[in-house]
């Protein structure tokens, strides 16, 4: 379009149609197409999550542990309940690390009679690495001996127990990864059930409000007044010591947190105009709840699930620790910890690996949970790290 300067003396009543030209003829009027690609909700969150180093590291660690939980138990020839009465309590022996003096399959024995050292029935050849005489009792020298526990027990040289064996001669590598598998299964089962119950309950409470909300919230308050540990203890006793009992025990009040979260989200969104619009169009309550309001909560919900997993793992091992865990011989991280606790002072290595595993799992899930919360809701970033 050009600004032509018209002569001033034209007649407004006698305009010549030829003077007029249609502008934009033949070209459509459009907004400029954005060169930036639109990001979906999840993709946006993923981009932010990827920038969070600790969360990504936690995610990798969880994936590694999950991989071993699936594959680990079948990586060597021992089953989780293969007992061997002569190979009990062997210390760990990891081939690559033997040169460093850790996990080399040796053990220090105190107050041993030196006159037995030459007896091949008691000390097979090559089992004694070094000894120092510490005293003399009734004419016999007593010594502190460093022995190769594997030779002492008659284990073939090419056989290694990476994490050692327990009091029944079971391979702890197999048992630990199977334990991780069981613990993770319990945690995931409990958390998903909690989420489902919590979502439905919280949605009803938040959507209908009023006296429905009052009654439903009173119920959660009553459930909340029971200490979690006590309820879990009672339920396991009633339902029996199995996965079912433990998961149910965690369900009893585990869902109240999710329910409260969803209820709050519903209070926030149910008065919005788009909900009113949908309602005026005759959308039924069920559809309003699940299609229109609930999707707003997907971010906090995923975060909540991730944050409750360590809680579930903790509850499981807590129950095992006080002797209400899974029934033998099924291992779980808690069962392993509780078994190791009994022989802590003599065989501390049995405690080390499960303790490290549960700590890494808990830390990783917490970090990932924090990362997800920041990713889904950037306004909350750094408020509680």
């Amino acid at each position: 379009m050009s600004n032509q300067v018209y002569e001033q003396n034209f007649d407004i009543n006698n305009l010549d149609p030829a003077d007029f030209v249609l502008i934009n003829k033949g070209e459509a009027i459009k907004d400029e197409v954005s060169s930036i690609k639109a990001l979906g909700f999840f993709k946006d969150a993923w981009v932010r999550l990827k920038r969070n180093k600790s969360a990504m590291m936690a995610f990798t660690l969880i994936m590694i542990i999950a991989f071993f939980a699936v594959v680990g138990p079948s990586m060597n020839k021992w089953g989780y309940n293969d007992q061997n009465p002569t190979w009990t309590n062997l210390p760990p022996r990891i081939p690559g690390l033997a040169g460093l003096g850790i996990a080399d399959g040796t053990r220090i024995l105190e107050n041993r009679r030196t006159d037995y050292f030459s007896d091949p029935n008691k000390y097979p050849e090559g089992s004694i690495l070094s000894y120092t005489v510490t005293g003399n009792v009734n004419g016999i020298d007593m010594a502190t001996v460093k022995v190769d526990a594997y030779k002492l027990a008659g284990v073939p040289d090419d056989t290694n127990f990476l994490f050692g064996t327990d009091y029944l001669g079971r391979d702890l590598w197999t048992r630990m990864w199977r334990g991780a598998r069981v613990s993770l299964t319990i945690a995931i089962l409990a958390v998903s059930a909690n989420i489902v119950i919590g979502v439905v309950y919280g949605a009803i409470s938040g959507y209908y409000g009023g006296s429905v909300d009052m009654v439903l919230m009173r119920i959660t308050e009553i459930l909340g007044a029971f200490p979690q540990t006590i309820v879990a203890t009672m339920l396991v006793l009633i339902l029996g010591r199995g996965i079912r009992g433990i998961v149910t025990a965690m369900l009893i009040r585990g869902w109240t947190g999710t329910a409260r979260l969803i209820r709050a989200q519903f209070f926030r969104y149910k008065g919005r105009e788009y909900v009113l619009a949908a309602r005026s169009l005759g959308v039924p309550d069920r559809k309003l709840i699940f299609r229109h309001i609930l999707p707003n909560s997907i971010g906090p919900l995923i975060t909540q699930a991730m944050v409750s997993i360590p809680g579930a793992i903790f509850s499981e091992s807590f129950l095992s620790f006080i002797g209400l865990g899974l029934q033998a011989p099924e291992p779980s991280i808690g069962v392993l910890l509780s078994d190791a606790q009994k022989t802590l002072l003599t065989y501390p290595y049995q405690m080390v690996f499960p303790a490290i595993l549960i700590s890494i799992l808990m830390i990783s899930f917490n970090l990932l949970g924090n990362g997800l919360r920041d990713a889904f809701d950037p306004t909350m970033r750094g408020v509680t790290d």
């Binding site: 308050e221 009553i222 007044a225 006590i230 009633i238 700590s359």
Partner: protein, 317 residues
Amino acid sequence: MAKYIFQRILAAILTLFVILTIAFCVVRLMPGSVFDDPDLSDSVKKVLEERAHLDKPIFVQYLYFLKGVVTENDWGTSVKLSPGMPAFQVIVQKIPVTMALNFISLLIAVPFGALFGILAAMKNKTKVDTAISVGVILGISIPSFVFATCLQYFLAYKFGWFPILYQPTATTAVKVSSMVLPIFALALSPIATITRYLRGELIEVLNSDFMVLAKTKGLNQFQATVRHALRNAAMPLVSIILHMFAGVVGGSLVIERMFSIPGVGGLMIKSINALDHSLTVAVLIFYAMISVATALIVDLTYGVVDPRVRMGGKKDE
């Protein structure tokens, strides 16, 4: 205001009553009876069950129980663990050590948590802050019993600084030192929780306008933080600490077991295993009372300080 207090107390009593009922039913529905002893003849068993009202339907048993509780503060009688003793008295004996353990660990947790939280917030985005944040993640993540095991193995067994187990009969000095490890193990997670909360809260407040004003009028960073920023964060902190108290009391169960401390937690497990039902119900009520009472205190203090809470809970917001 009076109406609000009255409402909350009424709700708490109602909650406690429902819990009492549920606890009674659940425990009575547990399989097995303490009188299932093959050595007892049928006639003796019958007399015993009659005396404990076990021959009647559960509803009638419940009425007897309620009558006992309301009229003479009778929570039932222990039959197995301390035969003939009222359940109430059995618990009262065990309360001091459990309470001492929990109170002291929280008392320690509050100043340490506050210190670390303030420090981390003031040195935000420095190495100090990073170190404290790592510590917080560890403290929140590592289960108390794993931590307690480490303490037990290294500090008590390897270095011999503290006794491995609780020594109730030893001299006062030994007794106190044997309490150190369990208290420390219990305090870890509260310290981490308080630190995390305060750090988050303070970082947000430190950049606000009234902090600038406080500094303009001549306060230094520390004075401004403690006098102005901290006060803002104090009220929610009280409720967090009170809630934690209920949680810690439940959590001390496993610590009590590890260090063989004769507290309420151990009593609970023992009474369940011994089918000493009246005792189990009484212990459950004890725990429920603690958490209901803390919730009530939180509600009331909030209601007094923050009028918005009193108004809350209207329909169709």
